[in-house]
């Protein structure tokens, strides 16, 4: 195997010139220009590509099966990558877990926050409390909505998605205690036709602000804007798709984190194996406010954001009831967004009061 590798290197003289560079590979589960999850990572990759002494490799549409194993191995063996960012949640177990012991000198940085002390030390897993951004979305939506009826197009009823639905609703009810969020689950991460149908049916019910948690918010944003509704974005900014209807959005801040990690790697400094955070740690950011956001809304949202950035603001705190009337957090109970993950926060399995919808039994 080494022999063929050397022969290949000799056959391609250009590789020698590149030998002094650090090669960093990014792997995406969908298209790199999806206006969503993958584009946010690709923006981070572009920020890394601008750094001196770094060569960036990117591969898109890599499914969570043997394909991602082969892509990782190929980036390492054929392109000499030493740092990989396999960015899909499902790449971790078993694919990254299998590759890491084979390539002890390569660093695997996974997006999802799944690393535990039992896993190989050359793996890192990071994730952001992006529901903080959905909370800000909710505040802005609460001010913007005339009907008090908000809509949420969601992929699957899993904890990460429920955190976003609940935070969005709590943010809106901070402003308008009567606000409600109607939720439609489409069943999977990329379902463009169902997402359009869901958005239309929400707007048909008199909903005037829509947000979402799907891989590519493009369809929801465009459909909502076409129907005259307002929209809060997710993953990365979709303002360009609907400059008038776009209020604000909860965005990943990978353009900040990835160059930081790459710098640490190049200097030989340890990168944390487990890294979680929100506004405070710079893992997420908020899209600039659109033209329909009032000065009052901006002021209130900025105030809360400052509290979150200072690490002094907890979103899920008791007393908190779910939408069936059951008390889910008692008085004084808090689910804190910190680097030490809160097991109850990570396993969220309820919809807060104000959410219209139900979870599968």
């Amino acid at each position: 195997m080494l022999g063929t590798g050397a022969a290949l290197t000799a056959a391609l003289p250009m590789r020698f010139a590149a030998a002094a560079e650090q090669v960093v590979g990014f792997i995406y589960v969908g298209p790199h220009d999806d206006f969503g999850y993958n584009q946010a990572h690709a923006q981070g990759a572009n920020a890394v590509a601008k750094m001196a002494g770094v060569k960036v490799l990117q591969e898109e549409n890599v499914p969570e099966d043997v394909a991602v194993s082969k892509t990782m191995e190929s980036m390492i063996q054929e392109d000499g990558a030493t740092l990989l960012f396999p960015t899909s949640f499902g790449y971790f177990d078993p694919y990254i877990l299998r590759e890491a012991p084979k390539f002890a000198k390569v660093r695997f940085e996974h997006c999802g926050g799944l690393w535990t002390a039992k896993n190989p030390k050359n793996i890192g897993s990071y994730f952001g409390y992006i529901f903080e951004g959905q909370y800000i979305n909710g505040i802005v939506a609460g001010y913007a909505s005339k009907s008090g009826k908000l809509g949420f197009v969601a992929a699957k009823p899993i904890p990460q998605v429920l955190q976003n639905i609940n935070a969005f609703t709590l943010g809106a009810r901070l402003v308008n205690p009567k606000a409600t969020t109607s939720v439609i689950f489409t069943g999977d991460w990329s379902m463009p036709v169902k997402e359009a149908e869901a958005t239309n049916s929400l707007i048909d019910q008199g909903i005037d602000v829509v947000t979402m948690h799907v891989d590519s918010p493009k369809v929801v944003v465009q459909t909502a804007a076409k129907r005259g509704a307002m929209v809060c974005g997710y993953h990365c900014s979709q303002a360009a798709l609907a400059p008038q209807a776009y209020l604000t959005g909860a965005e990943w801040n990978w353009i900040d984190l990835y160059p930081r990690f790459v710098t640490m790697w190049m200097k030989g400094e340890p990168i944390p194996n487990f890294y979680r955070g929100g506004f405070k740690e710079g893992l997420i950011k908020q899209s600039p406010y659109g033209p329909k956001v009032s000065a009052t809304a901006k002021h209130h949202a900025d105030q809360v954001k400052a509290g979150l950035t200072a690490g002094k603001y907890v979103i899920f705190k008791g007393p908190l009831k779910d939408n069936t009337g059951k008390m889910v957090l008692g008085s004084g109970q808090e689910l804190i967004q910190s680097n030490a993950t809160d097991a109850k926060l990570e396993a969220m399995n309820f919809l807060v009061a104000g959410v219209l919808g139900s979870l599968p039994a």
Partner: protein
Amino acid sequence: MVEETAAAIPAPPARGTRRLDALVGAAAVEAVLVPVGALVVSLLLFGIFVALAGVSPLRVYGYMIKGSVGSWFSLQNSLTRAAPLILTALCTALPAQVGLMIIGGEGAFVIGGLFAAMAGVALLGAPAPVALLGMAAAGIVAGGLWLALAGALRHWRGVNETISSLLLNYIAIAILNQLVEGLFRDPHSLNKPSSPSISYAHMIGTIPGTEIHWGLVVGIVVCLCAYVLVRHTTIGFAARVTGGNLRAARMVGLPIGRLVMLTCFLGGAAGGLAGMIEIAAVQERASASLIAGYGYTGILVAFLARQNPLAIIPVAILLGGISASGGLLQRDLGLPDAATVVLQGIIFVCILASDSVYGRIPWGGRAAASA
């Protein structure tokens, strides 16, 4: 055919220069030359496509060779990717023998994988051979019955099997999602709903000295068996007669219903076995990751192989190679992922178009193809 064209030959070939078509028969030469010619044409068309995208076709061809067979690593990459396709192609190729157009490989793959995972979880404590046999049986039976359903709907209810098998794919995916997000969910799989894992000791290993799992060998063996069944048994003959002329088959009293059910079951069984191998060799558990499109690529493989089980093996490896080199085209040449899909599409159209060439090659007119 040879006699017909012979009349038009101005001068007979000189004695001693025995032409290849005379040696092995024009049909056999055609069966190789036509698809290879179609492949060359599609590569040329793809070259024009990438040239329009601003990339040198020669560099693209170079990277395609490098990424598919250029090193031991890339060869293994191609073969690993070919493994599931060899089996899912049979989902279409076997029912095609009786003239059915089944495109339900994805559903058979998903349902086979799901039931294999269930069997694997039920047999956690069993010895490895028992567990593997149990998983394989579960996958084969589940996948087989799944496509037999399309065959039954066709034979007894007159439902178009192409439509019903396509719709069965969606039903299979819905069943998978329903179970891994509900009854069959590992409660620890918080943000990626999955079934519990099968035992690590029950995983299918790799062929010694390689990183290729044994699924490739299983697929090749199954294809060889399918070839023997189709070409060298009375059942296969009866199936091909049915596919060739349904009325004639009825007239001679062939058991059409049984032939339809058998070929659909065997096709689905191959797909279900592919799903089982995907669980036992790669994914360890059932989840939405099973829906990776192997069933759909299998349709392409079956058509490129002209529904011939033997030809499926090289064609699957070819498509595995294209997909293996797709990564390099993206990373080093900046071509979008869709480039490999475009190539697959061009090959598909060229192979279908090349069907009209069979039997029209003017053998006598050329001195080419001499042995």
